[in-house]
């Protein structure tokens, strides 16, 4: 198998150009889907038989929570690739993931808290799901703080990659926390192997919102990774044309 396509993709000038070209597509598609999903979730979807209109927080809470874990896995994989194959671009991608993931995690915790008040009667409870999600936020913040504490980017890459890889163990813990422990948080109603226990009319806007958030992530990581590439390629010739 020829790996030339991979080497080409991992070359900073090539990646910089490709990311610049695809970012606007991600951005506009994300905006369109998020707007459609917001309208669908707030207006068109039927109210829940138990939670009434309060359940509509689902459309911002679940995609944020999903993205908080997805972004961490992407970050850990990129960090692992960077560590094993010493690819600078992979380390750059991991670094670009952290602030995006942290903001999704904050959003998942905050919207969950707002949702918890009317449904559970409390803003916060130290149960397994909420605590492991809070730990995820600290992992992102710790990762960023660790990177910032090094002057040498290569040492920052290596140290933060180890933290990202160790922390990935928290992702399955978050996912299965509702099954392993008695939690106030409900178990999954969408990602079940048999049949989702949620009505299709409620499910469609959720999928549209998740897709919108994914595209938004695509846009944000493209922009941030372009910045990371420029910061890392200090004396490269191609920079004169790019900048």
């Amino acid at each position: 198998m020829k790996w030339t396509w991979f080497h080409k993709l991992a070359s900073p000038p090539h990646a910089y150009r490709i990311l610049g070209r695809i970012a606007p597509w991600f951005g506009w598609a994300a905006l369109a889907l998020i707007l459609v999903a917001t309208w669908w979730g707030l207006v068109k979807a039927p109210a829940d038989y138990q939670q009434g209109d309060g359940f509509r927080i689902l459309y911002v809470h679940a995609p944020s929570a999903w993205m908080s874990m997805f972004t961490y896995v992407v970050m850990a994989v990129a960090a692992g690739v960077g560590l094993v194959w010493r690819i600078k671009l992979a380390h750059g991608a991991a670094a670009a993931c952290a602030p995006i993931g942290a903001s999704f995690t904050f959003l998942a915790l905050a919207t969950g808290s707002i949702w918890g008040k009317p449904m559970w009667g409390t803003w916060w409870v130290w149960d397994a799901r909420l605590t492991s999600e809070l730990l995820l936020l600290f992992l992102y913040l710790g990762y960023m703080a660790l990177r910032a504490s090094f002057d040498d980017p290569q040492r920052a890459d290596r140290a933060s990659a180890v933290l990202a890889l160790v922390g990935v163990i928290n992702v399955p813990i978050i996912h299965y926390s509702v099954e392993w422990w008695t939690t106030l948080h409900q178990p999954a109603s969408v990602t079940k192997l048999d049949k989702p226990s949620i009505q299709l009319a409620m499910l469609i806007p959720l999928f549209i919102m998740i897709t919108g958030f994914q595209l938004y992530f695509g846009w944000a990581i493209s922009r941030r990774l372009r910045g990371e590439i420029l910061r890392r390629e200090r004396n490269a010739k191609w920079l004169e044309e790019a900048a």
């Binding site: 707030l42 509509r56 009317p118 372009r226 910045g227 910061r231 004396n235 920079l239 790019a242």
Partner: protein
């Protein structure tokens, strides 16, 4: 569509709207922050190029 009824969100307005508002705020902040991160790196690279071309000439 009854706008008043829609805004009341079946009595959950004080929870639904802040949740959506906060989401919009965080998404916009992330958009701004990612853009700024890219343009700052571009400006820094441009300055480095200018400096290196000055020292060469």
């Amino acid at each position: 569509m009854d706008v008043q009824k829609f805004l009341e969100m079946g009595g959950y307005a004080q929870f639904v709207w802040p949740a959506y508002g906060l989401t919009a705020l965080v998404l916009v902040w992330n958009w701004w922050s990612a853009r700024r991160s890219e343009t700052e790196a571009q400006n820094a690279a441009r300055r480095r190029n200018e400096l290196s071309s000055e020292t060469r000439s």
